[in-house]
């Protein structure tokens, strides 16, 4: 008699058991009764380390194929190794990055993922322990950082440009990735003059393929760096502007003629960082009296042309920016009253507390007038983050933004919905995920010419089944729910940003 082969369900269940171990390990110091631990695990699974350095599997779907015409790869990036050598990082943004590729073949979707073996990670492999300071965590007996790329974990976003695929971080160089093997390559050397100079995680690409980016260097001589790179991937121009004091400048907007950088009053104290006593994040100080400084940079000369000031607030991301004929610039962003969600909540999440007590970022619009006047509009009620637009509108007027939003409960991971916002009208369409599913960033993939004619594609973490899945929405009919979805046999840690490269 033939021995009974394990069914696919058995295999799935066995695999699904693995992450529970990691989730349990993630709940550092947990002393709760079993029931409480279980609840905690369901929240911390998104902040557990990835189950393997390399992963590969087709997505299982309950039926149907992804929409015809939706072919290509959704590339994603995010911190994935929160634990290594028995050391657990204290903040979501610390972990070594992992590139995820979800390939839409027409017939289905297949996933591959690989941890990015950066020079920082290789150094720790040689030492057999964590030795490099991270964004918000100093490992015991850590080494000194000589240059930004010493601590580059390449964990924030993915850039596809001029035939190259790159993993981006905020504080260092772009890291080239082999699109076939997903292996980490060398740091991108746009030109000798900018070798090792920070290259931020949200570059903007114009319709002719020209790429603009900023680099943020909040050291003892703080500067912002501006880059213009042509469609062939060659550096055309770079410029440096002293900006003191300076903290994190994570994102910016590009209009037809300008770049706009908004600087939250959360600034680095270089002497405190140099003391080696605190992490990069903890060397920042919230100084609301500074207000939010706004720099407008000529996108051709890369010189700072105008400065505006707005009330204090803390933000990471913009949707888009555009310019009217008279030079008035309109942009949007997701802004919180202060940085507490970064300094406190994302640490609490790593401890398995899963309680977000700080005010969340909300969607707002900003108007910058050429005469120096500036105003920020009222917040659309509720939390909103990970704003994305139809990228063909980058730098020109956009009439919609896609984002993650909260479900109004105010506790736990704040995002439970995917929404479409209209500047001026607020939320106009949305889909609420079931309570056991945590949505990650969703990106727009165009189909027709009109803005919004296309799909919204994104991943989610199913904490009940302990798996990561992927959904496809008709971008203009989110409330219909996903038109296709599939799930992996394993979970991925909650990630950050991605990009869809159509084939």
């Amino acid at each position: 008699m033939m021995k009974k082969l394990p069914s696919r369900r058995d295999v799935l269940l066995a695999t699904a058991g693995l992450p529970a171990l990691f989730a349990a390990r993630a709940a550092v110091g947990a002393t709760d009764a079993p029931a409480a631990t279980s609840a905690r695990q369901s929240r911390t699974i998104g902040f557990a380390s990835v189950v393997a350095e390399e992963l590969s599997s087709p997505l299982e779907t309950s039926g149907g194929r992804p929409p015809a015409g939706l072919t290509g790869i959704l590339w994603r990036n995010g911190p994935a190794e929160h634990d290594r050598f028995g050391h657990r990082y204290g903040h979501w943004f610390d972990g070594d990055g992992m590139v995820q590729a979800f390939a839409f073949t027409g017939a289905g979707v297949a996933h591959r993922g690989r941890v990015l073996d950066t020079p920082k990670r290789r150094r720790e492999t040689r030492h057999g322990k964590r030795v490099v300071p991270a964004f918000a965590t100093l490992p015991p007996g850590h080494t000194q950082v000589l240059a930004p790329d010493d601590m580059n974990v390449a964990n924030t976003s993915i850039l596809a440009h001029a035939g190259r695929l790159m993993a981006l971080w905020e504080g260092g160089s772009a890291l080239e990735i082999d699109p076939e093997t997903l292996a980490a390559g060398r740091f991108v050397d746009w030109a000798p003059s900018v070798a090792g100079v920070p290259f931020s995680a949200h570059p903007k690409i114009g319709r002719d393929g020209t790429l603009w980016n900023i680099g943020c260097v909040p050291g003892p001589r703080p500067v912002l760096v501006f880059y213009r790179i042509d469609r062939a991937g060659r550096l055309v121009k770079a410029n440096v502007a002293p900006v003191a004091p300076l903290g994190m400048a994570h994102d910016f907007v590009m209009t037809a003629r300008h770049l706009v950088v908004m600087l939250a009053p959360f600034v680095l104290e270089p002497d405190l960082l140099a003391s080696g006593r605190v992490s990069f994040l903890d060397a920042h100080d919230w100084r609301p009296a500074l207000g939010t400084r706004v720099l407008t940079i000529d996108r051709d000369t890369l010189e700072v042309k105008r400065r505006h000031e707005l009330p204090p607030g803390f933000h990471f991301h913009h949707g888009n920016g555009w310019e009217e004929a008279d030079g008035t610039i309109r942009l949007d962003l997701c802004q919180a009253p202060g940085p507490g969600f970064v300094t406190r909540d994302l640490r609490a999440a790593m401890r398995g507390e899963g309680r977000f007590s700080s005010a969340h970022p909300s969607y707002r619009q900003v108007v910058l007038e050429p005469n120096g006047a500036a105003r920020v509009g009222p917040a659309v009620p509720g939390a909103a983050e990970f704003p994305r637009i139809d990228s063909r509108r980058t730098g020109i007027r956009h009439d919609m933004v896609f984002a993650l939003a909260d479900g109004g409960e105010g506790e736990g991971w704040p995002f439970s919905r995917v929404v479409r916002l209209e500047p001026g009208n607020g939320e106009v369409d949305s889909w609420t995920f079931p309570g056991h599913r945590i949505p990650e960033e969703h990106v727009f993939v165009p189909r027709g010419e009109a803005e919004g004619d296309g799909w919204l594609v994104g991943s989610f973490l199913d904490v009940r089944r302990r798996v990561t899945g992927l959904g496809v929405f008709e971008a203009m009919r989110l409330s219909d729910g996903p038109v296709w979805e599939g799930v992996l046999p394993y979970p991925l840690p909650l990630g950050l940003h991605g990009t869809f490269v159509k084939s």
Binding site: P119, A147, D149, P192, V194, A195, V197, V217, V240
Partner: protein, 153 residues
Amino acid sequence: MTRSNNTLVGLALACLALFAAQTALAGDLEVRLDGLRSADGDARIALHRRVDGVKFPDGAGVVAAISRRAVAGSMRVVFTDLPPGDYAVAAFHDADGDGELATNLLGMPTEGYGFSNGARGFMGPPRFDAATVTVGQEAGLLSVAVPMGYPES
């Protein structure tokens, strides 16, 4: 004697003293560069003295310099006949052979470099004190290590 002559005499005495120090009390300093990544170009090693009001390392403080073809791994050079006092070594691996430490537009080195005692600064060079090696009154060979650091690539 005029004031000018006084100065000349003073200078002559100082030179004599320096000469005496060099002949009677000179020391040798062996510098060992470790961790050179390749044999490309040259290793350039400069011996500095402290100069008040000038931030180390600066050309104003250089009292001797040696340039040699680079050797992958480790290499040794010796500065000879040094008067007693405090010194510091700054070295870089001039892999492209252009005679200068290559830097990016922020002034961050893009070639390998190092300082005596393995001294390191924060977003800049170390202080002279951290890299100090003292040549004493007694003749003999002192040795100091300069571990070379390279920007990640």
